[in-house]
C-alpha cells in the first residue's frame, strides 16, 4: 500500500463497499457511514422493497448507492451480487457480511430445527460464499472483509446457544482467513455490535425488561445506534486507518463484553 489515506472525510473516496443485509439496521448503518466518508455502497439485500428506498435515501443525500437483490442463503445470488458490484463500479474494496436469519433460541436438548439450518446458511455458509466470491476483487484492491459476529459468540449464550456457536464459527473463519489472505494484502476482521436495530426493538417490545438489562450491563449506559456508533467502525475497517489490523474482533457494544 503506497499511498494510504488516513485523514479527512474522504477516507473512502473512490472506494466501493458491498454490505449484505444492507437495507436496514446495522447493515444500513454501516453502509451509511461508509457512504458519508466517500464510498460508493452496494446494499445487497433479500428484500428489495426495503433496500431500494434505503438506497434512494442515500442517493438523495448525495451519496453513490444502489441496491442489489441477494438472498445470502443462495450461493448463486452472493456471487452474482459481487459480480454486479464489479460490473457497476469496476472494483470492490470492502465486503461486509452482516445478513443473518434463523431462530435458534430454546433448549439445547431439543432437536435443532429449520432455524438452525437457516442460521448456518445465512451466517456461516454465506461467510464462506462471500469470501470465495470477493477474494479476487479484494486482492486487486488490497481490500477488507468484515464479518458480523456477536458477544454471544465469545461468552456463549444461555438463551441462544446455537446462535452463539454460529457466530463464534464466523470468528474462527475470520482468524484463519486473516492468516491465509494476509499474503494477498486482504484484511479480515469481525465486528461484534450491540445496536438498536428493528430486530432488537422487536425483542424489547416483546420483553420490555430486555432493554433495561442490556443497558445495565453496558458501561456506556445505552444501546448503540447503527449509523452513529457501529458505522464508524465499518469506516475504520474499510479504510487505510486499519491497514495493519487483521484477524481481530472489534466489540462495539458500549463495553458490555470485555472478556478478550
Amino acid at each position: 500500500m503506497s499511498n494510504p489515506t488516513t485523514t479527512g472525510e474522504g477516507l473512502l473516496a473512490g472506494r466501493v463497499a458491498l454490505v449484505t443485509g444492507g437495507a436496514s439496521g446495522i447493515g444500513l448503518g454501516m453502509a451509511t457511514a461508509m457512504a458519508q466518508h466517500g464510498a460508493a455502497v452496494v446494499l445487497a439485500c433479500r428484500r428489495t422493497e426495503t433496500g431500494e428506498p434505503a438506497a434512494e435515501a442515500l442517493r438523495a443525500d448525495g451519496h453513490d448507492a444502489n441496491c442489489i437483490r441477494c438472498d445470502v442463503t443462495r450461493p448463486g445470488e452472493v456471487h452474482s451480487a459481487v459480480a454486479k458490484a464489479l460490473e457497476r463500479h469496476g472494483r470492490l474494496d470492502c465486503l461486509v457480511h452482516n445478513a443473518v436469519a434463523g431462530q435458534t433460541g430454546g433448549a439445547l436438548v431439543d432437536r435443532p430445527g429449520t432455524g438452525w439450518r437457516l442460521l448456518v446458511a445465512s451466517s456461516l455458509r454465506a461467510s464462506f460464499e462471500c469470501a470465495q466470491a470477493a477474494h479476487g476483487a479484494l486482492r486487486e484492491t488490497g481490500g477488507s472483509l468484515v464479518l458480523l459476529t456477536s458477544a454471544a459468540g465469545m461468552e456463549g449464550s444461555e438463551a441462544m446457544p446455537l446462535y452463539g456457536a454460529a457466530k463464534a464459527a464466523q470468528r474462527g473463519l475470520a482468524k484463519g482467513l486473516a492468516d491465509e489472505w494476509g499474503p494477498d494484502g486482504i484484511r479480515v476482521n469481525c465486528v461484534a455490535p450491540l445496536a438498536r436495530t428493528p430486530a432488537l426493538a422487536g425483542a424489547i417490545e416483546a420483553d420490555p425488561s430486555l432493554g433495561e438489562r442490556l443497558e445495565a450491563r453496558t458501561p456506556l449506559g445505552r444501546i448503540g445506534d447503527p449509523a452513529e456508533d457501529i458505522g464508524p467502525v465499518a469506516v475504520f475497517l474499510a479504510s487505510d486507518l486499519s491497514r495493519h489490523v487483521t484477524g481481530q474482533t472489534v466489540s462495539v457494544d458500549g463495553g458490555g463484553f470485555r472478556g478478550l
Partner: protein, 208 residues
C-alpha cells in the same frame, strides 16, 4: 470407576482410549448414535480434515465436511450426552462433557480456515451448554491441544501464535499427557469448573 464415552475416531482417539483405560476408566468408544445409558464423562473429538486446503479451493462439499459437519456433530453429541450426564441429586458428582480441539481454533491457520471455524463454534457451544445445564449438574470443558498432537501422523498445521516452542519442550501425548487431564476433570473435585477452555499444549499458546 469412571464411565467414559469417547466419540470420534482416529489415531489421537485411540491413544486417548488407551490412556484412560490405563487410569481405570470404563471406556466405550463409538459414534454419536451409540450414546445410550449413563456416563460420568463424554469426550468428543470432532472429525476434521487432516490436511490443508485454501478456502478459495474448497468445494461446498469440502466446506461442509470441514466446518458444518463437525459443528453439527458437536450439537448432536451434546444433545445425546445430556441425558447420560444429568444428575438427579446434588449429592452426585456432575457429569462432564468435554471436547478436544486443536489450538488452531484459537489463533486461526492458513489452510485450516473451515476447521478453525468449526472449533470456535464448538467453544461457544460448550459455553452455552454450560449455562443451560448447570442446574442439571452437567458441566462442560473444551480441552485445546497442540495441533502437532491433535493431527498426529497427518499433515496438520503447526502451532501458531507463539514465536517460541512449547515451554515444557514437547507438544503432548494423548495417552500420557491428556488422558490424565480428562481424568482430573471427571473427578468430582473438579466440579466447579464449567464452560471453560483449558489449553494443554505444553505452554505454546499463552494468549489472554
Amino acid at each position: 470407576m469412571t464411565r467414559t464415552l469417547l466419540v470420534g475416531s482416529g489415531q489421537f482417539l485411540d491413544a486417548l482410549d488407551d490412556g484412560l483405560r490405563a487410569l481405570g476408566h470404563d471406556v466405550t468408544a463409538g459414534d454419536v448414535g451409540g450414546l445410550i445409558g449413563t456416563a460420568d464423562l463424554v469426550v468428543h473429538v470432532p472429525k476434521v480434515p487432516n490436511g490443508p486446503t485454501d478456502l478459495v479451493n474448497l468445494t461446498p462439499d469440502n466446506w461442509v465436511a470441514a466446518c458444518e459437519a463437525p459443528l453439527d456433530e458437536a450439537v448432536a453429541v451434546a444433545r445425546a450426552a445430556h441425558p447420560m450426564l444429568a444428575r438427579q441429586s446434588a449429592d452426585d458428582g456432575p457429569g462432564r462433557l468435554a471436547w478436544i480441539i486443536p489450538t488452531t481454533a484459537l489463533g486461526g491457520a492458513a489452510g485450516f480456515v473451515a476447521t478453525g471455524a468449526a472449533c470456535e463454534g464448538i467453544r461457544a457451544l460448550a459455553k452455552g451448554a454450560a449455562k443451560q445445564w448447570g442446574a442439571d449438574r452437567v458441566v462442560t470443558t473444551v480441552l485445546v491441544v497442540a495441533p502437532e498432537a491433535f493431527f498426529a501422523g497427518a499433515t496438520g498445521p503447526r502451532s501458531e501464535g507463539s514465536l517460541s516452542g512449547p515451554a515444557l519442550g514437547r507438544h503432548g501425548d494423548p495417552g500420557s499427557d491428556l488422558a490424565p487431564l480428562l481424568d482430573l476433570l471427571a473427578d468430582p473435585r473438579a466440579a466447579f469448573t464449567t464452560g471453560g477452555t483449558l489449553v494443554a499444549d505444553g505452554g505454546t499458546w499463552m494468549a489472554p
